[in-house]
């Protein structure tokens, strides 16, 4: 049913594919058409809107570029030609189709005929085969017959049959031949047809070509005509335009000419006016100008005169300047030469300088090497000297001892001899004389003092002070002393705030005055490396000179007249200090303001107050101090013993010095606290390390005992031995010597007499012997 409907629908011309169709292709087509329509509608709407817009803008533009006549004609021609080509193609291919159709027909027919023929042939072959078989079967029957008649009959019949078969076959052959002939005729006909076809195709193609050529030419002609017509139209329109333009131009030219003539006349009138005015003006100006001309002539004359004058002057100046220039040239050349010479000299000097510089550097190197060598030598020599001193001392001691022994021995011999003389010669009872052997003590005391001295020198004064202080123990405990010490400590705590760290200040703020001072003093002492109690006493020693009695207003030293060496030292110090401070001030002006104090601050905690390293200045101070120290004891070396005693005395004195003569407690001005402290530090902390300078080295004397003892001393010592033996005994000895000498003489005379006797006796004996020889031996009486 549906199909019928569809068919009906398809018959209808206005049929459109529906989306609800059962055919998928139709559905797709329907959708495509729908989309196409929508797109078209949209485009139309858009075009409408655009057209409206254009209308609004009053621009008369066509919606599409209009197709020109040429395009139209070309399209038309193309269409026509295509149609022609299509027709021609069909026309030509019709022949092919026809032949093909014929061929198909032929095939069909032949196929049918062939099949029939084959069937016929097969049928015929089958019947022929049957007949043949029939005949063949009969042959065997015939062979069995013996009757010739029978045989001939049968053979006859066989022959007939064979003839029949052959006839049939012949008929078939004839039939086939006929068919073949027909086929040949057909073939010939076909061939002819083919030739005809080929001819007709060729003809048609030729015709087609001619037609097409004609058509193309025609179309070309038409297109050309159209182009020409269009060209004509274009030319006409353009000509019209040009004509219009020409007309317009003519009109404008005419109007222009009118305007120009008007302008010209106006211009002529104006010119006349202007000319007139100009003439008048010209006249007046000529008059004015002539006047001015005269004036200028005059001026010109004046200027000319001046110019001549000036030129003369300038000539003269020029001459002078020329001469000067010449001179300048000469001078310049001279200067140049001189400059060159000087340059040469400078160069030579520079060279010399350089040479000298290198030489000096070389020399310096050489000298430094030499110095080093010498230093080494010095060290060696020092060592040697030390060694020699020790050896010398030893030798000296030995010789001294030996001599002493000898002297003692001699003295004892003398005593022995004296004793012998007394007892044997004089027969007196010998009494030993009153004598005392010169003691060895002399040598020992010198030794001790000298050793102490050496100690002093090497170990610095502190050792000496220690020695002193031992003696001071007895007055330490006194109340006055304690008070003074406390006073001093308080002062120190006040003034030496810079030695304490800032943090500590903050920490200490809430504490009591007493506690604060205690901590402060502790810190200061830690900074100064004071650890022992005795050190405080030493400190006191230094503060002592600055003490004064606030009541009597007198410094205690001057009254007491203390140990001279110490005074000497202390007297020296302030001067040096003053120098130092002044120096410091000058330095501070230079910029290193807190040099010393800062250095103190920095060095003290770390090194324990080795102020030596503060600067060269302080070093020199110490040198001097040392010298002073060395000098002092050297001078007083002879009176060593006395010194020792004086120390013991000073201990008593000091107990008194804490108080003034009127028993007032002594005070110290705060000004001197730092000074005293500085002194103390400078004394207390001796430079421990560092190379001793040359002067120190030279100043250092190896004071062994042998060197310290003066030759006078030695003489005195030995002269003591001379006085040991009493004089009366000597006189005795002398008189005894006289007696003995006389006795000696006597003895000598006696001796000679005895010797004469002896010799005479021997003479006698000899004579007897000789006599006996002449008389008989026995006859001779004796």
């Amino acid at each position: 049913m549906e199909k019928d409907e569809e068919d009906e629908a398809s018959k209808n011309e206005d049929y459109e594919p529906t989306v609800f169709s059962h055919n998928p292709t139709e559905r797709i087509m329907a959708r495509q058409i729908r989309i196409q329509r929508r797109v078209d509608a949209l485009r139309k709407a858009k075009e409408l809107v655009e057209a409206q817009e254009r209308a609004g803008d009053n621009v008369t533009l066509e919606s599409e570029v209009p197709k020109t006549n040429i395009d139209l004609q070309v399209d038309k021609s193309l269409e026509l030609l295509e149609k022609l080509i299509l027709e021609g193609e069909e026309h030509v291919t019709n022949v092919r189709v026809a032949t093909e159709a014929r061929e198909a027909d032929r095939r069909e027919r032949e196929g049918f005929g062939k099949g029939k023929l084959l069937q016929q042939l097969e049928e015929e072959a089958a019947s022929a085969a049957d007949m043949f078989n029939e005949i063949a079967e009969k042959w065997s029957g015939i062979l069995k017959y013996n009757d010739p008649l029978h045989i001939s009959d049968d053979i006859q019949s066989q022959k007939e049959k064979c003839d029949e078969l052959i006839k049939e076959k012949n008929a078939i052959i004839a039939d086939l031949r006929e068919k073949l002939k027909k086929a040949e005729i057909n073939f010939a006909v076909d061939q002819r047809k083919q030739v005809e076809d080929v001819n007709s195709v060729a003809k048609r193609i030729e015709n087609q070509i001619i037609i097409m050529r004609k058509a193309y030419r025609q179309e070309l002609q038409m297109v050309e005509d159209v182009i020409k017509a269009e060209r004509q139209i274009l030319i006409e329109t353009n000509n019209k335009k040009w004509d219009e333009l020409h007309k317009k131009r003519d009109q404008e030219e005419k109007s222009n000419a009118d305007l120009r003539s008007e302008d010209y006349w106006k211009f002529v009138q104006d010119m006349d006016n202007v000319n007139r005015d100009f003439q008048e003006l010209y006249r007046t100006t000529t008059i004015k100008l002539e006047n001015e001309c005269d004036e200028l002539q005059r001026e010109y004359e004046r200027i000319k005169r001046d110019a001549i004058m000036n030129s003369e002057k300038l000539d003269y100046n020029y001459q002078i300047l020329k001469k000067r220039e010449d001179e300048n040239l000469i001078i310049k050349s001279q200067q140049k030469r001189r400059i060159n010479k000087l340059q040469d000299i400078i160069n030579s000097l520079r060279k010399k300088n350089n040479d000298y510089h290198t030489q000096t550097t070389q020399q310096i190197e050489k000298l430094t090497v030499e110095i080093k060598k010498l230093c080494k030598n010095i060290l060696d020599i020092e060592n040697k000297a030390d060694h020699l001193a020790a050896v010398n001392n030893e030798k000296f001691k030995k010789i001294w001892n030996m001599n002493k022994k000898r002297a003692d021995e001699l003295f004892t011999r003398v005593l022995d001899i004296d004793k012998v003389l007394h007892e044997q010669q004089l027969g007196l009872e010998w009494t030993p004389p009153e004598y005392t052997l010169p003691p060895k003590m002399l040598l020992d005391t010198t030794k001790t003092t000298s050793t102490t001295k050496i100690k002093n020198k090497t170990k610095s004064t502190s050792a000496g002070f220690e020695g002193d202080l031992e003696q001071d123990t007895d007055y330490e405990n006194s109340v006055v002393y304690k008070r003074t010490i406390r006073h001093i400590l308080n002062l120190i705590a006040d003034k030496t705030g810079f030695l304490i760290e800032d943090v500590l200040h903050k920490i200490l703020e809430p504490y009591l005055e007493y506690e604060r001072t205690l901590v402060k003093v502790d810190n200061v002492f830690a900074a100064l490396h004071l650890k022992e109690k005795s050190n405080i006493d030493v400190l006191f020693e230094f503060f002592f000179p600055y003490m004064f009695c606030p009541i009597c207003n007198v410094a205690p030293e001057k009254i007491t007249g203390e140990d001279e060496s110490v005074v000497h030292v202390h007297e020296m110090e302030p001067v040096n200090l003053a120098e130092l401070t002044s120096e410091n001030k000058t330095k501070s002006s230079d910029g290193g303001t807190v040099d010393l104090s800062i250095d103190l601050q920095h060095v003290d905690p770390s090194q324990g107050g080795t102020i030596v390293e503060v600067g060269p200045l302080t070093v020199t101070i110490f040198d001097e101090n040392l010298k002073g120290e060395c000098r002092g004891p050297d001078k007083s070396a002879v009176e060593n013993a006395k010194d020792v005693e004086s120390y013991s005395l000073s201990g008593d004195l000091r107990t008194g010095t804490i108080l003034c003569q009127y028993q007032h407690p002594l005070m110290i001005s705060s000004v001197y606290v730092l000074k005293a402290l500085k002194e103390f530090l400078s004394k207390y902390h001796i430079p421990k390390a560092g190379m001793p300078t040359m002067s120190i080295r030279l100043g250092f004397k190896r004071s062994t005992m042998s060197r310290l003892i003066l030759p006078g001393d030695v003489e005195v010592y030995w002269e003591k031995y001379l006085k040991l033996f009493p004089d009366d005994r000597e006189q005795l000895w002398n008189s005894l010597l006289e007696g003995l000498k006389k006795y000696h003489e006597l003895l000598k005379a006696r001796k000679t007499a005895s010797e004469e006797v002896v010799s005479l006796r021997r003479q006698n004996l000899d004579l007897r012997r000789v006599f006996a020889n002449y008389i008989h031996k026995n006859d001779i009486p004796y």
């Binding site: 398809s10 797709i28 189709v97 159709a101 061929e103």
Partner: protein, 509 residues
Amino acid sequence: MRIPITINKNTLKTYNDYDTNKKIINTLQSNNLEEWDKEIPKNLQEICLETIAKNWEAKPLLDEIPLTIDQCLLLDILPTELPLGLTIPKINDDIYWKRCYLQRWPKLIPENVSLDIQISEIVKVNNGSRKSSTTNSASSQRSRKSSQEQQKSNKRTWKECFLEMHLREYLEKLKPEDYDAEKIKELSDLCGIYVKILELRELQSSENSPSRIPLNAIVTGLENLTELSICFKQTYVGEKFSWNILKITLQDIKLLAKGLEKIHLKIFRLRNSDIDDEKMIRILKSLLKHDELHTLDFSHCKISDEGGVALSKFCLLNSVNTLVLANNQIGTKGMEALSYVICQSACRLSTLDLKLNPIGNEGANHLMKPLTIGVRNIKNLYLSGCGIRHLPSLGEMIEHNSSLEQLNLSNNSLGEEMGKILLQGLRYNTSLTKLDVRMCKLLSMDEFEILRRINNNKLAKRCPRTMKKPIIIEPQYNFYISEELLNEIESAFEKIDENEEAVDEVEQT
């Protein structure tokens, strides 16, 4: 006046026309192109060139001549009868070869050749050759390169045309008795590079045996050959007719197949010859490795169903896209195999010509199936004279197919009803631009209507804006094929192998 060959004849004509037309008006004629220089003696340059041309055989000079214009002149006056052995390696310019060609075959204007010789090209080529004129080999290389350049521009050169024609003429005239292997070798060496198209319209057979000249040597020698067309028949029989003229021996086909294995063709045609299935399969086997093959033509042969099966297998293995099988004997079975192959994606066939094959209604029905389900490769289909009758699936196919552009159904007695069916199918078809239904026993009204529809399609295609998109339906079901036929397709070539072996064995025994 000597007019260089490089000048277009039409140009010259216009000039002369101008002369004749304006003769009456122009009293002063300064443009007499014919006679004006007859009195003027030739200049030395020309005389020199003439001498060179006269003695060219003894002393070939061309690249040594410095001026291009002189070279052109020399090529213009050089005699065309010079031996090919000398001219082929020496001369590359088309001026000379065009003269040679036109002198030898004045009526056979070749296709796809620039009739005009572009002067700029000549100058370019000559400049190139002049730069490298120091050695002969270098120049020849350069010229070869230039010929390659021309090849790129898809235009054949006159030299190629001349040599192709020469070779063709030589081979067509050659009798098997006169066959000389050395001569053939020499010729193929000379022309090998230039011959790209070889079209043998006939081959002479010997008097006693049906065998032809062996083609393997010459085919192997032409290394650039891309197009080969052979017809194994003799056009003019003469008085000595024997059936041998029409027959081809298996030996000839074997030799040809051997030769084909060495080269790579794009187009192969073997037409109007005594080719049965076995011979065709032999040739197909040798063509299997020709990757660029796109056209295969076996029209007017004796291929039957077996051959159709083998061809379908070949289409699966090779990328051939045009298959011409006009006037063969392929029946229903071969058609079924081909239809199956069309369905496969490995097949690239776009044109299928089955003219005058006894396919019958059933075979056509087989073919309609893959086309209906949307095989998109096939564009052109020729089914004229195939014995198709009333076939409703044809209408369906036209309705659903969206790729087919040309369909020839002429000479099939479809009957009047089919006219309606076709019209119904055309309702939704937009791709078909040509449908030939002549001699189909349709009503003339229907025929006219069909033509109108087709015209509409054509017009729609011309203006692409309004063109409707072709309706594309993805293939929905596979083509059904019987197992037996499939196996047959698979073993199409092997069978021949077996046959061959059997034949060999027989021969040996």
